[in-house]
Symmetry: D2
Subunit: 345 residues, 4 copies
Amino acid sequence: MTDDASYKALENLGAAPLWRFYGNLFPAEPRSRAVPHSWSWQDLRPHLLHFSRTLSLDEAERRVLMLVNPGLIDPPATVNTLYAGLQIILPGETAQAHRHTSNAFRFILEGTGAWTTVNGERVHMAPGDLLLTPGWHWHDHTHQGDAPMIWLDALDYPLVNALEAGFYEQYPQRLQPVTRPDDAGSRQFLHGRLTPAWLTPDGPSSPVTRYTWEETARALDAVADTAEGSDVDGIVLEYTNPWTGGPVMPTIGCRVQRLRPGFHGAGRRHTASTIFNVVRGEGATVVDGVRLDWSEHDTFAVPGWASYRHLNTSASQDAVLFSYSDEPVMRSLGLYRTEASDPGA
Amino acid sequence: MTDDASYKALENLGAAPLWRFYGNLFPAEPRSRAVPHSWSWQDLRPHLLHFSRTLSLDEAERRVLMLVNPGLIDPPATVNTLYAGLQIILPGETAQAHRHTSNAFRFILEGTGAWTTVNGERVHMAPGDLLLTPGWHWHDHTHQGDAPMIWLDALDYPLVNALEAGFYEQYPQRLQPVTRPDDAGSRQFLHGRLTPAWLTPDGPSSPVTRYTWEETARALDAVADTAEGSDVDGIVLEYTNPWTGGPVMPTIGCRVQRLRPGFHGAGRRHTASTIFNVVRGEGATVVDGVRLDWSEHDTFAVPGWASYRHLNTSASQDAVLFSYSDEPVMRSLGLYRTEASDPGA
Amino acid sequence: MTDDASYKALENLGAAPLWRFYGNLFPAEPRSRAVPHSWSWQDLRPHLLHFSRTLSLDEAERRVLMLVNPGLIDPPATVNTLYAGLQIILPGETAQAHRHTSNAFRFILEGTGAWTTVNGERVHMAPGDLLLTPGWHWHDHTHQGDAPMIWLDALDYPLVNALEAGFYEQYPQRLQPVTRPDDAGSRQFLHGRLTPAWLTPDGPSSPVTRYTWEETARALDAVADTAEGSDVDGIVLEYTNPWTGGPVMPTIGCRVQRLRPGFHGAGRRHTASTIFNVVRGEGATVVDGVRLDWSEHDTFAVPGWASYRHLNTSASQDAVLFSYSDEPVMRSLGLYRTEASDPGA
Amino acid sequence: MTDDASYKALENLGAAPLWRFYGNLFPAEPRSRAVPHSWSWQDLRPHLLHFSRTLSLDEAERRVLMLVNPGLIDPPATVNTLYAGLQIILPGETAQAHRHTSNAFRFILEGTGAWTTVNGERVHMAPGDLLLTPGWHWHDHTHQGDAPMIWLDALDYPLVNALEAGFYEQYPQRLQPVTRPDDAGSRQFLHGRLTPAWLTPDGPSSPVTRYTWEETARALDAVADTAEGSDVDGIVLEYTNPWTGGPVMPTIGCRVQRLRPGFHGAGRRHTASTIFNVVRGEGATVVDGVRLDWSEHDTFAVPGWASYRHLNTSASQDAVLFSYSDEPVMRSLGLYRTEASDPGA
């Protein structure tokens, strides 16, 4: 038998020589398919408003512009494991109840008067609020305000689909019945450190349905005059699951950080992939030599193992960033790694 | 050899017949040496003030009236594993820095203008605040207000001494140096659910040095109109360690609960021992047939496995109780047990 | 009001001045009431045999000689939190089924042909076997061999009683029915590292009902020619709960250790209290200046925070010690502390 | 602006309408790209031997035939997250030392006299042994036996690469130095339930470098006459990490199972993907209507959420299967789901 004959036979037997694939399968270090990229709120908002006029929520189960990373076109994703989109809903509209194993959250950008009903609880929205929809929770939206409501939509479906673990189900009616007091999850756990002693955890995710911006702003203010926090990230707070002290969902960690005027962060990289949304202020993040300038409500992506550095370009105003990443995944699976690293530029 | 000769020989050999001790060692159910008991704030406060005039803090390392359970005189304790005392400190005074393996906390009853310095951090006091001093943390007190400062002092020394694990050390100076921003622990963890991402746990206890009453009151208010909570305990919130979601210290769990006007709790008992302090309101707790009436700042003890029922005797005012227990110990060691049980009366 | 009048009034109010008790409540370091002590197998065995002839198991629920520490006479205990006794049962006898919240185990010294039935499973005994009876498991004994059966009986009742968490119940019949295959717990978990995937934990304790000496000896032999292990304890192996990798029961940790010929251990102390039983060999343990010489089947006590050093006095034979301690309690409650320390002598 | 103009503009802005992708991103249930498939030992072994003659280990870093699932050609994988290959090494050969973040193991099929050196410890191989190489552990191979050595090579690189977390490094010399006693990890933890008390965990994976077949066979024999175990999987044992009781590595769980003669398993499916290798016996596994017949050393793949049923087609002989899966990943991330399900056929 010649090598060629053997190679041919192996192909038919469903086998292949490792030595011909080796370098591709075992790279010296990760090189994400995602690229550093930003999405402009000013540019995208008009299109959202356009489709809110031309496309009904009966046609589109959800009216969302996906923020597609140029390196992750098909299937579409924002970073390797996570997705970001901009969703709009109009006064008087409702969005169909459904559930999926993907974990999701909303981070509110504009508008008031809407709520998401999550497993029977109405959860209201205001700018800066973080609303959780953990995996397999029924959720539908209703808007009774008087102006469009826009939020950042976040999901881990790229991860869940890569792991081939996605399930999806529509609720038999358009809206689920309300069975709990409004915003109960948020109010019962107003402070994660004062937890209702008559409850017990009912899953791996946080029971706080809504982390209001009011509370988040108070937490940021409370540490305003203490040490600078991290030299990489400034004052950076992790939203936590009050039952465990860990991340809000097993696959997604959420943070908010304040960069003081003139902040020039240290460079770093880690294996987690991160998506940022600008709460307020102006600045730039340098990622692997690419400078991403940002201002209010812009979204930008820092791929895993890309080096990054945050800059607050204002000499007088704080900048505040909201972000989410797959760091909990990397830690659970023993794959988290981080080191100081200069992004250049 | 006769039995008697054998019994005598055994005594000399350091052995004893189990069959002569059996019933005492294996009781059918626990019967605490502690008894249901209450301590009157109105009665005790004058004595505190008296000794604040006649006894200096150089003579007494701490000026504290121990609340001694009639069943636990020697060594003195309030319930089986825990201690409560009333401590007073005058304007201009300082109390010597020391540390001990016993876990401790202060629950403030009266006064402002004082602080405890805990491992280099000044922690300020106001009525209703809960200040932690976890085991082996240096702590000293300073009072610069203009009226006496009184708090409930809590320690687990009865447990630690029963386990023969107590260590104690005096600081070489009267006061330790301040090395951290004032109230940093409290402000960094204002919300347990938003935790500083640049910190990591440095021990088994909560890093929240001060749980202010302001925050506690907000948490209670936030659940005011939702379900009644527990039929035994009303709206009951557990103070938690933000790193773990568990109790604030490994041996002591702290709670605050609101009993709505006219609340008549269900009867229950559990193996944990509990000490209560009345934040506001008037009512009674029936314990194993003994009725303990209480009003503001009174302290009362519910021994382990004693049946109890809480009553708010006001038809118009809430009652609010602060409490602490050894439930974390019982749970860690697999000894926690609870059941519905009528205290009678 | 004078001080004296105030002291008197306080007594009636159930309060006491901390400043008069301070030093006793906060010792500089632990000083166990237990003393270093040993119990001779050669001396005690005849008395066991004596009472096996003069006392029936109908009179004594269990026929056990308690090994009472001279410092812990009432209530009787062997070290602060733990108890050891020597139990004997004769061919043809049975011992009444009961259960208690105290965790217990048997370490077999002499005889074959008996079994303990634990929650419906017959667990057989042979010298060197460790048989667990975790808290609240029904257990009764039956002996069908042809010579007396003697074992070391271990319980945590001093701890459970100090925590006022002891419950006890007699089974309505003398013996419980057998509902599981013989020694199933032991055989299903023959290797803790190969666990039955169709089972799940049903409590905080190990499901291994019997750790046979045969398996223990194999484990000791397997590390015979590798490094010496600990300079304090030689080759020391911890019996573990295969579901957690932790101690076999939440309150008691069990170990076996081999001291090579001529072993002269480093001195150490820790807050855990320990009871040893000699499996084979001859040697001595120096505890706080007291030399305890030991040989086969002797039992000896090392109180918490006492300094100790192990010696194998044979130049040619290994010594093997079995031991158990409350280290899991100290660790769970954040009270474990250890340091190098010379016991003198 | 028309819809078309808006769609075109969005494309340039890196955004896309979710409503055009919806169904693909949120499937009703997982449908693995992998297909049920088996690989024949009898067919593949001659090709392994062929390349052992024509390809040196200087040319191929490792001489391995990858078992490529027909649904997962590029990049090649055996099931969605895991890889299996057949590796051969000849007497006198060595394989270059390297390390990678992918977790790996070897399951030995044929030969003796070789060892893998893992972080300084020589780990020897014999048929049926499971040898771990947790992520980022240096490893190289040496064969000094007198016949070819063949093993099943397992890696989680499909998962690690999908998560973009792969690192790889070559050791500067061909072989690393030996710094620990031979097979120390295996011998120190011969029983997971008797663990060396002088060691502490140094990572998330099992310290047992080698789970010998001798020990595995003893564990299987020990439960031979007890209950049948699972109606789906027969007597099925999980290899565990003795420090935690959990899976051997954070991304891969390993099991061995015995199907008694004539075993006809119940049907089931779960979100984990599994690869099987036949230790001995003959039978078939029906997967989503496809019957995979198997005999000794064959490998077969059961994709996630595929229904399966195991059959032992012999009326007199046991069948024994070794398997590994990504169940630990699914459980850590909250994505594990299972249900009874008939595979048909």
